[in-house]
């Protein structure tokens, strides 16, 4: 139970890094609040595991400090930091029973036997391992093995934080939901700081109060699922969150009007002022569910309609994903209601409050 500060962390696996590209973590400066449930989301190779190992102390960062509750722990070993970490694949002490596996982290810290017993039985019950406690860990199924790994992470009640490194990769889908729910319960009950690494946005959103999105060794946005969805601060966040992700169109700017190959799309007032000093080449971003697709100009209502061409309709059952050719670029729209969309001519509307402007991959504003 601790607040964790990462102070200007940089890390490179190379002995003498030259450019920014040599760094697995380029610059990370962030705070994990005490008792928060965080998801660390990002594609493979973006530095998620590196960051986790730096927090736990398995890895010493090339630069920067780690503070637990304001105390510098940068030089400490993981066992001194008193932190729990669960790995992607089950790690078991094969020759021990399930009970001894779960008790191991406590016994190593000389916790009294009665307390060990109480904690182990408590965790075993939560994870539904009670019947397996006397069995040898080596002979169990992959699911059960990973539950034991999770259990070893959860068994200590006094840890600074629990770090999960894609812990449900090897678990069956139906059990995944169940275990994630259990983790949330445990989080609520004990108020532990939890950081959950994943590359699955659904997993991140169902587990965490706050999601930290990483991209190429940097944190590009931290926020609630809603914030990430409604206001992506980086093109990558827009593209990575949501299915399909945010659509982007190259554009130029004139006042508060975005020009996409001749079409003048009005934006929320104020963009022009904020963007004026940045440059000339921008990207306009809009979520597929906000992009309006209409069969006639009249159907567009108050918003200005822009002529475009539907090139593909993909029926996903509960909705349709429409690919539209607009100003020489392609963009996707998601249509939930039943109104007909046929290939051919159509009119697009861009609700100004849902239309975002990006410069150099980052949100303007």
């Amino acid at each position: 139970m601790a607040r964790i500060d990462l102070n200007e962390i940089r890390h490179s696996y190379k002995p003498s890094p030259k450019s920014d590209d040599d760094f697995a973590l380029k610059r990370v400066h962030t705070t994990w609040e005490d008792g928060g449930a965080y998801a660390l989301l990002g594609p493979s190779g973006c530095g998620k595991t590196t960051m986790l190992n730096i927090i736990s102390g398995l890895l010493k960062p090339s630069h920067g400090q780690i503070l637990y509750d304001g105390v510098d722990v940068s030089a400490m070993q993981p066992e001194e930091r008193n932190i729990a970490q669960v790995f992607q694949f089950p790690v078991l002490y094969d020759t021990m029973t399930v009970y001894d596996n779960l008790a191991f982290p406590l016994r190593n810290r000389n916790v009294p036997a009665s307390e060990v017993d109480a904690r182990v039985r408590r965790i075993a019950e939560t994870l539904e391992l009670t019947n397996d406690l006397g069995k040898r860990a080596a002979g169990l199924s992959a699911d059960a093995k990973q539950k034991i790994s999770l259990g070893r992470g959860l068994v200590r009640s006094d840890v600074a934080a629990i770090l999960f490194d894609e812990p449900l990769t090897v678990i069956d889908p139906h059990l995944k939901w169940e275990l994630r729910r259990k983790l949330k319960e445990i989080h609520k009950e004990f108020g532990l700081t939890m950081i959950y690494v994943t590359h699955d946005q659904v997993e991140a959103m169902t587990f965490a109060d706050k999601i930290v999105v990483m991209y190429e060794g940097e944190i590009v946005q931290t926020g609630t699922p809603e914030e990430l969805f409604e206001r992506p601060e980086h093109v990558f966040v827009g593209y990575f969150i949501g299915s399909p992700g945010m659509g982007f169109l190259e554009c130029t700017l004139e006042g508060d009007i975005a020009h996409v190959n001749g079409a003048a799309i009005p934006l929320e007032p104020g963009y022009g002022v904020r963007a004026s000093s940045l440059g000339s080449r921008f990207k306009l971003g809009i979520r597929p569910m906000y992009l309006g697709v209409h069969s006639s100009r009249e159907a567009c209502g108050e918003l200005p309609g822009f002529e475009a061409r539907v090139v593909g309709v993909e029926d996903q059952g509960f909705c349709r994903i429409v690919t539209v050719q607009f100003g020489g670029q392609e963009i996707k729209a998601r249509i939930n209601d039943g109104h007909p969309v046929a290939e051919g001519l159509c009119w697009l509307t861009f609700p100004p409050e849902k239309t975002k402007l990006y410069f150099n991959e980052r949100l303007v504003g």
Binding site: P78, F87, V91, D94, M96, F104, A138
Partner: protein, 290 residues
Amino acid sequence: MNKWEDNKAWFLILPVFIIVAFSAVIPLMTVVNYSVQDIFGPGQRFFIGIEWFKEVLSDGRLHEALWRQLLFSGLVLLIEMPLGIGIALLMPKKGWGSSACLVILALPLLIPWNVIGTIWIIFTRPDIGLFGAAINTLGLPFDHTASPFDAWVTVMLMEVWHWTPLVALLAYAGLRAIPEVYYQAAKIDGASSWAIFRYIQLPKMRGVLTIALLLRFMDSFLIYAEPFVLTGGGPGNSTTFLSIYLVKVAVGQFDLGPAAAFSLIYFLIVLLFCWLFYQALQAVGTGDKQ
């Protein structure tokens, strides 16, 4: 597709049958054949049943050699297994140091066995040998040709020097195969170095250590060339191990019948011990405790 019976498939496994027959079954059967006959010369053979086995089993000198052999193999395992594991644990994990260690460790294994005996004869000679002369100069009388104890020390030293590297190499391979994440988990769990050895390294090395144990047991139980060259089984009979005694019976006295019976008993003893070791080590890995 129609199916029909076709015994041509036997041709596919025929080569294996032939190889096994010539390499194992036929020689073994020859020995079985000798062991139940009294042979005076070509054409003068008499079937005598298990008489040779009775004679061999009641041979006092064979009993002595057997106990000597068991003591020797027991000591070999007790010294070489922990020592080999210890060396493997101390070896560098990567870089040129690791390569250098591997080459140095492999050297004794590359030397022909009778050459090893010769090396140690010279090395331990009390007058000119580096080891023998040095230890005598220090005031400890040492002569493996005169004292049975010194002969045992020399044979043990030679054996340990020769074969511990094999255990170390196998253990090292086993250690290198342990994924890094186990060590990371152990760090998180606050495990001591002893706990890491006891609960991660040792269990993960069980497979290679089983092989090492079986190989070292069989090789040491069948040892012949090195002590034959070094001591010739002496002084007295103090280093006459089973193989040396067997050769004395078979070649020295040309008692083919007893030697054949002896060989079969010898073979069965090795088989029995290997089976016991194997079962014991398997049980360590899989036995449930409640």
